[in-house]
């Protein structure tokens, strides 16, 4: 099992009232950046990078980053910059970008160049995930949401071709046009860095991933519904001649550990002001999912799944309205002492069977000190136990499964 550490790198120095007073009472897109203090930003960026460096020290296999725009909930507006720094200052862990929002790039060649540089600087440690981005990403960058999926697919094809086909060549697509594709720098990993795709279970994306043998990372999805999503992936995989295993799936969970259950319970409340921000005010529908962004497929199986995603009370996006205790009772967040966390995770892993576990160790108002203690305990007790559980449950990861992933060059 591949264990990677994640945080959204939240900025929480504002109040619920500030959000209430913003246009459309939204913490993303239109929440004014006059609420941002760059001096605090200086402190936070460096603090978060310190935490990632320490995550290598305690033994994580991967450092996972993500990207969002126009929001205090995630400081990673240009995640590739953080990745480039980590490529230089760390030595062993994979740098897992989940992911670059392809549709918002008007120049995917530039993206291919950035990622190639990160891959070379890191010695071939890049995992290059791609996402469609939320509606906010489209709106913040003025990318027509109607073309989101088409741009995602075309930009992906262009980046992969840029990495794998000697230039110069010309690209004349529907959304991208380049007369001389020939960036001189190419990735170290051949044929190209591994591609993993994170998401909340869109059937079209699951099938698209299965067709390409790209691992799919479920972002805090409902465990029961996830079984149906995996079935969609598996069916498409079989049509393409292979049987998917744990190495094809990942799962992101908030997991916070402290010395005692009581301490962890108190500290873990800090998550509540993270992902959807201080005040936990739901995002307007036209921000999160503008008309045209979503699929209009009328495949009944897809419709059922979409309804399932929609009706999940703990749906991704911050487990929007849910109460802390009910989230913990449902084991959607795993919070406690090392023993508690290990035993609950055994249960979750047995059911979900991911080859990749994304450990969302902290967010929101959880302090640096508490985060560092959490990471320390992870290293001392939780990660070793998880590795044993992974062995026992045969949760093979993509790097263990020979032939599944391209690349894997190491220096």
């Amino acid at each position: 099992m591949f264990l990677m550490r994640f945080t959204e790198r939240a900025y929480v120095n504002y109040t619920e009232e500030d959000v209430r007073n913003s246009p459309n009472e939204a913490v993303r897109l239109t929440f004014s950046n006059s609420n941002f203090d760059p001096a605090e930003g200086h402190y936070l960026y460096n603090m978060y990078l310190d935490e990632y460096e320490y995550s290598e020290e305690v033994g994580f296999d991967g450092l996972m980053l993500n990207e969002h725009h126009n929001t205090p909930t995630c400081l990673g507006a240009t995640m590739n910059l953080e990745a480039a720094i980590l490529a230089r200052v760390t030595k062993k862990p994979k740098i897992v970008l989940l992911g670059n929002p392809l549709p918002i790039f008007d120049n995917p060649i530039r993206l291919a160049e950035e990622l190639a540089e990160i891959d070379m600087i890191s010695g071939g440690r890049l995992v290059s995930g791609f996402v469609r981005g939320t509606g906010v990403e489209s709106l913040a960058t003025n990318t027509n949401p109607l073309h989101n999926r088409a741009r995602f697919e075309e930009a992906h094809d262009l980046v992969i071709k840029t990495w794998t086909t000697p230039g110069p060549f010309r690209w004349e697509g529907d959304h991208y046009h380049f007369r001389v594709v020939n960036p001189f720098q190419t990735p170290l990993q051949k044929p190209h860095p591994p591609v993993w795709i994170p998401g909340t279970g869109s059937p079209e994306t699951l099938i698209w991933c299965a067709e390409r043998n790209y691992p799919y990372i479920f972002l805090e999805t409902d465990p029961q519904g996830t079984q149906d999503m995996k079935a969609i992936y598996a069916e498409a995989a079989r049509e393409h001649g292979y049987e998917p295993g744990p190495e094809n799936f990942g799962y992101l969970v908030r997991i916070h550990v402290q010395d005692t259950d009581e301490k962890a319970y108190d500290v873990g409340k800090g998550y509540m002001v993270g992902n959807i921000g201080v005040g936990r005010i739901p995002l307007p529908r036209d921000y999160a999912s503008p008309v045209g962004y979503g699929s209009r497929s009328d495949d009944p199986r897809f419709l059922r799944l979409r309804e399932q995603i929609r009706s999940d009370p703990f749906r991704v996006g911050g487990l929007d309205g849910a109460q802390y205790d009910s989230i913990l009772d449902s084991k959607r967040w795993i919070i406690g002492s090392p023993d508690t966390v290990i035993s609950q995770l055994r249960e979750v892993l047995s059911f979900m069977r991911p080859g990749i576990l994304a450990v969302w160790t902290n967010d929101g108002s959880i302090s640096h000190e508490d985060t560092m203690r959490c990471l320390e305990l992870m290293g001392q007790e939780v990660l070793p136990a998880l590795r044993e559980i992974g062995e026992e449950l045969e949760l093979t990861d993509p790097f263990q499964k020979e032939g599944v992933m391209p690349g894997l060059t190491a220096i």
């Binding site: 897109l29 949401p145 921000y287 008309v291």
Partner: protein, 259 residues
Amino acid sequence: MPNFTEETISVAGGNLQVYKGGSGDPLLVLHGAGGNAGPRRYAQALAEKFTVYLPSHPGYGKSDRPGWVETMQDLACFYTWYQEQEGLENARAIGFSMGGWLAAEMLSMTGHAFRKVMLVGAAGIKPNDGEITDIFIISPQQVRELVYHDPAQVPEWDELFGSDPTPEQAQQAEGDREMAIRLTWRPYMHNPRLPAKLGRVSIPTHIVWGENDNLVPVECARLYQQALAGSQVTVIPNCGHSPQIEKPDEFVQAALAFL
């Protein structure tokens, strides 16, 4: 009161939904980004003098979208096709909001698009001082609140908005909004080159605006006037973005006097 019929005709390989009513010279009415509300009171009144054609734009209502209709210029091309087929070249026309922009694009393309044109709260030209409201980052409910200056004076309010939309209507509204997004996303609701291209226009044009337009600033009336030689402007006081719905009697009076 003239009877309107709803018909479906084939244009450019797809179905086009058209409301048609009245008698007299043809009058083409082009609806706005929000969709085709059908033959409202103003259309009934105009149908006393004209044969009113009120199509749902491709991708709107029950009209198909030929795959090539992606931009306002594509839409203008589509409508010249429709005009040629239905004998509507050189007809009179009224364009509301985005439909006004559409009429202006058609005017910029050919000298025989229309005999006379009325542009009402027309999008298409970027204001100098204000901004065209971004209707895609607010809810349809918020858009409606901005469209009408004083809902109490809208005679057809109950008919239009009195009951919750049926699931079919809600789905239709989504489809309409999607088409608006397709057509007007970027540059948003305007064409930077349109004012220059309107220099060719020599037919009579009448620009009508609600004084309290909260969607397309009333300054755009002057910008259209500058772009369209010899055009006249009527600003209707105490009125929002849709004079034809909010003040139908004053609107029809102005329309009949001009057309």
